[in-house]
């Protein structure tokens, strides 16, 4: 993975000093709340219901075991012994003291980490495929491009105060696991017919209050031009994006209002002045950054003999759900589930983080990843060591065999923590997980995504969940709206609302009814999403609300 040189380290150190002084001036009343707000946000610091929340960047989800140990220690020392992994592959601490935030940043800088641009109206953490570098369907490793974009976007002077937040995702695989079509800019790398690396550029996708799938602005952009082209897009957005209405300020609204053709015309006009300019990437720089993402020292290893374990159902269930095929024979990628129903989805305790760091050291070259589904990944595990890994991970409650299943719920912190939320989301996730605790039944239902957001901001990506749940406020009480048919990846789509919202008590039963309709309606081996797409939402409506007279 990428390792800092003096330049990277100095920038992060200077940031710690800058922020410490800003905090000092704020506490000293030299900065108003309004003036401090964008400064603290661009350092990941929110003022929440109970305490400030600090969001720490995990660039494109990559962590070393050393870094995870530091996060575990910070959770112990400055928080309540746990952290929350978010859908942007970051980690959030919910209980730090404002006065301690400088100290936390200083400790993070020791392990090449920071909280730069994890919030605020700027370019946020670049996200990508959690299986990058290991997945057999990979065409281009997206991580080194993500790192080049990370450096370019860090303290980009022109885009420091955009109309609204700006999210970029990169994928280089056949199957898109990075949700590129639901981002402000989505970059899809591939090889063109003459074997040249090119990028399909999507723009104006996003979830939130007005969910939209992005439009293609360029079919084949050359990789050298990626930064200058992004700069042109962002310049047009910065100048013309709406600042008068926070709900209409994302780039998707501008692209929609102008139409993709007109938007593209403006972008191309700006680009003409900077194309080929100083920020054009060259072969040397690409190779320099790529050299950090070379393959680990794989051993020659044999594929596992599954027959030997066929009586151990718990292990084989885990094997089928929580491990993923690998480009190297004899290796698999492993997902450690943070969805056990013992804690909120995406939460990990200090003890668990230390355990995962040790597992990474022992089984996966000392590296791990955070997925946007809020689980932890050991990307390079020898098949012959899987049983041993499983046994050890089980001791720390990290082996719930539910990856991709109904209880692998994506969930934002919701009303328990977040001051933006209309409704709680964690208790809904937990009540659903409690109702569906029969692993055989869950495996029978098969692949299905259930995403919960506590408000319109859609941090839980509810629009693209096969089942989406959105917390809404009605006359001061908490209600939940259900959508069906959302999907991510190459077939991304936005779910449709099935009807009036429900109380929190009703939610588990509603999900149960939806699943029964699916079980009745499905063809053999038909996935939930395919079934919804085939029969439409009507049968589900009747199943949930009863026959309409």
């Amino acid at each position: 993975m990428y390792i800092y040189d003096q330049i990277d380290q100095k920038l992060v150190d200077e940031r710690v000093n800058q922020y410490s002084d800003q905090l000092r001036r704020y506490l000293n009343n030299e900065l108003s709340d309004e003036e401090f707000r964008p400064l603290r946000l661009q350092n990941g610091l929110y003022i929440q219901r109970h305490a400030p929340m600090l969001r720490v960047a995990i660039p494109y989800g990559m962590l070393s075991s050393k870094q995870l140990k530091k996060l575990a220690d910070i959770a112990d020392k400055f928080d309540r012994g746990y952290g929350h992994f978010s859908t942007r592959q970051n980690i959030q601490f919910n209980w730090p003291k404002l006065e301690n935030t400088s100290k936390i940043l200083k400790e993070l800088a020791e392990v090449e980490m920071h909280a730069i641009q994890t919030s605020g109206n700027c370019i946020r953490n670049i996200t990508t495929d959690q299986f990058a570098g290991a997945t057999p369907d990979e065409i281009v490793d997206p991580r080194y491009i993500a790192e080049i974009i990370r450096q370019w976007s860090t303290f980009h002077p022109e885009f420091a105060l955009l109309p609204r937040k700006f999210k970029i995702a990169v994928t280089g695989s056949e199957k898109d696991r990075a949700l590129v079509q639901a981002h402000d800019i989505g970059l899809e790398f591939s090889m063109n017919i003459v074997g040249k690396m090119v990028i399909k550029v999507w723009v104006g996708g996003g979830l939130g209050r007005t969910p939209m799938i992005g439009s293609v602005i360029r079919e084949e952009l050359e990789w050298q031009d990626i930064l200058t082209y992004c700069e042109a897009i962002l310049r047009v957005y910065n100048l013309y994006g709406r600042r008068d209405n926070i709900y209409k300020a994302r780039i998707k609204i501008l692209v929609k209002a102008l139409g993709i053709d007109k938007f593209k015309e403006l972008v191309e006009k700006e680009w003409a002045f900077i194309k080929g300019g100083p920020n054009t990437i060259n072969e040397d720089e690409l190779n320099r950054v790529a050299s950090f993402f070379t393959a680990p020292d794989y051993k020659e290893s044999e594929s596992i003999n599954l027959d030997a374990f066929k009586d151990d159902k718990n292990f084989t269930q885990w094997l089928s759900r929580n491990t993923h095929s690998h480009k190297i024979i004899g290796y698999r990628s492993v997902t450690l589930s943070l969805k056990s129903n013992q804690s909120a989805p995406g939460d990990a305790t200090t003890k668990q983080m230390h355990a995962v760091a040790e597992l990474a050291d022992k089984f996966s070259f000392g590296e791990l990843r955070v997925s946007h589904e809020q689980n932890l990944i050991l990307a390079d595990v020898e098949e012959s060591l899987l049983y041993e890994l499983w046994q050890q991970a089980k001791l720390h409650n990290l082996t719930t065999p539910n990856i991709g299943l109904l209880t692998d719920i994506i969930c934002c912190p919701g009303g328990d923590f977040c001051s933006l939320a209309n409704a709680k989301s964690i208790p809904i996730a937990q009540s659903i997980q409690a109702l569906f605790d029969d692993m055989d039944y869950l495996h029978d239902i098969g692949d299905i995504s259930l995403n919960i957001s506590g408000c319109m901001n859609a941090c839980g990506h509810h629009h693209v969940g096969n089942i989406g749940i959105l917390g809404v406020d009605k006359d001061g009480s908490e209600w939940y709206q259900v959508t069906l048919g959302g999907d991510q990846g190459n077939t991304a789509s936005i779910g449709k609302v099935i009807g009036p919202s429900f109380s929190s008590e009703e939610m588990p039963i509603v999900i149960k009814k939806i699943i029964s309709v699916y079980v009745d309606q499905r063809h053999e081996d038909e996935l939930f999403i395919d079934c919804v797409k085939r029969v439409g939402i009507e049968p589900f409506k009747s199943g949930v609300y009863g026959e309409q007279v």
Binding site: K10, L11, E14, E35, P157, R243, I274, E285, R288
Partner: protein, 203 residues
């Protein structure tokens, strides 16, 4: 050391402002609200200033004057001599579209000073406008930010192409100066340092 009573930073020092900034006459404008809150930002391209405001603006007979862009365009002919003497500059606000106006003025390097007015410090359009002036319109002379100009945006303003800053009245410009050196070696190429770090230094 003499302490200069001025809010103006030029490059790295506080200096006296030798320019007279001509403001537009105030007019009654309806206060726009969104969800109960006052809207702080004008839309890009919104009509501004009004014809009435332009007509009512008085251009002083002498001295170095920094005029509203539309006022300059209105008096362009009669100001030719003063422009030649380097006594005229112009300013515009962050929501103004400037392309057509700049084409009308011809060579913008005949003006020793251009200033951009930012009503709210969080209006990042000011950065893109500066970049365009430097990169697209190739403006080489003094580029000044004024209005809600504060220490914590100064580094970004400098990198976007500004080289002078009129700090908001209630803040100390000597303190604000520190903001210019928040970071020593930025990653990306921008209007001030054109090359990205990997072209400047062997990494």
């Amino acid at each position: 050391m003499t302490i200069i009573n001025s809010q103006l930073i030029n490059e790295q020092t506080v200096i006296k402002d030798e320019w007279q900034t001509i403001e537009l006459p105030k007019i009654n404008q309806e206060v726009k609200k969104q969800a109960g809150k006052v809207v702080l930002f004008k839309l890009t391209g919104e009509e501004y200033p009004t014809e009435e405001q332009v007509n009512q603006t008085v251009v002083p007979d002498s001295g170095k004057v920094l005029l509203p862009l539309k006022v300059l365009i209105k008096h362009h002919e009669s100001l030719k001599k003063r422009i030649k003497n380097q006594d005229v500059g112009f300013w515009f606000a962050t929501h103004e579209e400037i392309e057509r106006a700049i084409l009308l003025l011809g060579d913008i390097n005949q003006f020793p000073l251009i200033a951009v007015y930012v009503e709210k410090f969080s209006d990042g359009r000011i950065f893109s406008l500066a970049n365009q002036l430097r990169t697209k319109y190739r403006f080489k002379n003094n580029l000044r930010a004024f209005g809600d100009v504060l220490r914590d945006q100064l580094f970004f303003l400098k990198r976007s192409g500004f080289n002078s800053y009129l700090i908001r009245k209630d803040r100390d410009p000597n303190d604000a100066l520190k903001g210019l050196s928040d970071f020593s070696n930025p990653y990306q190429g921008a209007a001030d340092i054109k090359d990205p770090v990997w072209k400047r230094i062997k990494r």
